[in-house]
Symmetry: C2
Subunit: 409 residues, 2 copies
Amino acid sequence: MAVNLSAPNPAQLYPVAGVRLGVTEAGIRKAGRKDLTVMLLEPGASVAGVFTQNRFCAAPVQICREHLARGAGVRALLINTGNANAGTGEEGRQRAVRSCVALADKLKLAPEEMLPFSTGVIMEALPLERIEAGLDGAIADAREDNWLRAAEAIMTTDTVAKAFGRQLMIDGALVSITGISKGAGMIRPNMATMLGFVATDARVSQSLMQRLATELAEASFNRVTVDGDTSTNDSFMLIASNRARHAEIESLDSANGQALKTALLEVARQLAQAIVRDGEGATKFITIEVEGGRTQAECRQVAYAIAHSPLVKTAFFASDPNLGRILAAVGYAGIADLDQGCIDLYLDQVHVAQRGGRHPDYREEEGQRVMRQSEITVRVALGRGAAADTVWTCDLSHDYVSINADYRS
Amino acid sequence: MAVNLSAPNPAQLYPVAGVRLGVTEAGIRKAGRKDLTVMLLEPGASVAGVFTQNRFCAAPVQICREHLARGAGVRALLINTGNANAGTGEEGRQRAVRSCVALADKLKLAPEEMLPFSTGVIMEALPLERIEAGLDGAIADAREDNWLRAAEAIMTTDTVAKAFGRQLMIDGALVSITGISKGAGMIRPNMATMLGFVATDARVSQSLMQRLATELAEASFNRVTVDGDTSTNDSFMLIASNRARHAEIESLDSANGQALKTALLEVARQLAQAIVRDGEGATKFITIEVEGGRTQAECRQVAYAIAHSPLVKTAFFASDPNLGRILAAVGYAGIADLDQGCIDLYLDQVHVAQRGGRHPDYREEEGQRVMRQSEITVRVALGRGAAADTVWTCDLSHDYVSINADYRS
């Protein structure tokens, strides 16, 4: 069902030295389904994360923030599907802490060196005993070449596992990057996607990691939306195991820093776009470019208004060039002094609207032709400045309703 | 298909002295369908309106604002369905003006005394010739007891006509109020619904009319949403024909002013709620009450976040008490300092969540029972103040997708 999204290419999922992944079936989600993942880091890894801005953030998000703030270093990540441990109050916090204690005991480490992640149903108690019982199996399974199985184990309503990798040379040393992510509904990340993990063996100063993680998320996970629902569990983690044989990167503005960031961004964007391509019920992948704004923020605001409009999304699903719905969304995006007489609209290369009205040369067959494609670019020119921004989204189909009406039942 | 919404009761649609309505089939929408309505006012009527905040407002909305600002008085309203005359640029403005000129010529009045309204497809040229050709028929049809036919003639994807009336005594004089409205998609009014017209024969000073119209809209049309899409054509008009035999109301705070406002609000709320009950694909009518906020505005913000969440709306459609989705929407509503540990959630009288976690006594069967109802009240207590607000909405069903995927094709 996913839009132009193939299963991960195993040859591209480069092992990252110092990062081992193990999965097991702990019985949290459903029978026959791997649902518990550990990511074990050798000492000395640099780690940073960005998390949901949802005020109802899940218990594991709260614990991650606290553990990262202590700066004790991170040695293991623990990820379960099938239960989000969100909307679970103080009891939920306790269970998240106890899952860290249990893993730390097994690894002879401190609980503060663990980071917990959960995804699944909200407002149900985390099945702690099953997680504890599954830890030995997951740890025993841990290998550096286990990225594909980890990508599969963190899926919920995703139909395709999401994993991408890339290699580059820095100062003559080979550097590997591999990442995994999951969607597929409650997706309008506001710092990160539901779950995304990118690891590299590059050597990066810990002091750079938070800025790097934030900038990567801003240009990837924070530019996608499926349904506008910001999850309680959004987490994006960036890990540098510091094993590659180049000099430590101490500035993101250096040539090496730029090269690494570009490669990381490529992986992060592939992971983020894969979430949209596999968005619940998605049949089309839509790029929304808004240009000619006064600020990047207002361009993004307009792009999200279009991306979240149920009327625009159903028109894409129907391949119906009912493009006035896009203009309407531009109009209610919240830019108080927007002048409709300055606005142009393009669908791929087709010039649909000019200065706020239908372009005299626009023929509906042209719009229809583009709307039938599985990949469509909407371009809106606001005509009031030089800023631009891009958002990626999908359509709204019958299957979205079916999936979300049936998810728990 | 509409949720607990019957066809209008003709006995309740009181003629309003000084207000005549006429309809005709002008061939704008489709064969066999009345699509052009005139509302003719005797001299001396007080009129005020509130209009969409969409910056891509339709040409007729622009013309209405200009004509009302001139203060020449209003003698006729001209309403067509089948074409919104929005996203039509300067040419659209010209056509709206020419429709006013044509009607004014027929009535031997000035174009500035006409107000045009359009609803239907966006970004198509208004079929001016058909409107002009239909005017004679609509004018010839005009009668004071024609409210039901007018309610039918302004429908687009509505399945049920929307018209309500009410009578009251003011100083011993009988006062009548009758109103009509239409939905049914692109509904998140931001001043008013797509089209709503309420008329009374009460005597109200013109100087009070704008405040009265604004306050009515705020407490009725501005509290409903179907899909969060603010229309380009939202218009709510309030007409007082000043024919009733009581002394002119010169203050809304007087006893008579309060009595009239209460009765008008009842009609406006019925009209607004009817739009939700007949929302595209709606199977449930949902009242969202948010209390315990610091301001009414933040309560409304939370209520709208819940009302617009596709995940919440599909859960209602499925009668699935997946109520964590409501907590997630509360969390991302945009209140930066919200403390999830203070939040309680009720479904009708069922206490679902307490201090941010599942209530210990909550049993899923109880939630399930309420979710199966066709009328459901969600109540969220924010626990941070004394303000409250209410929003009305509906669920998101397969039919919403079907209707909007097929609307033009």
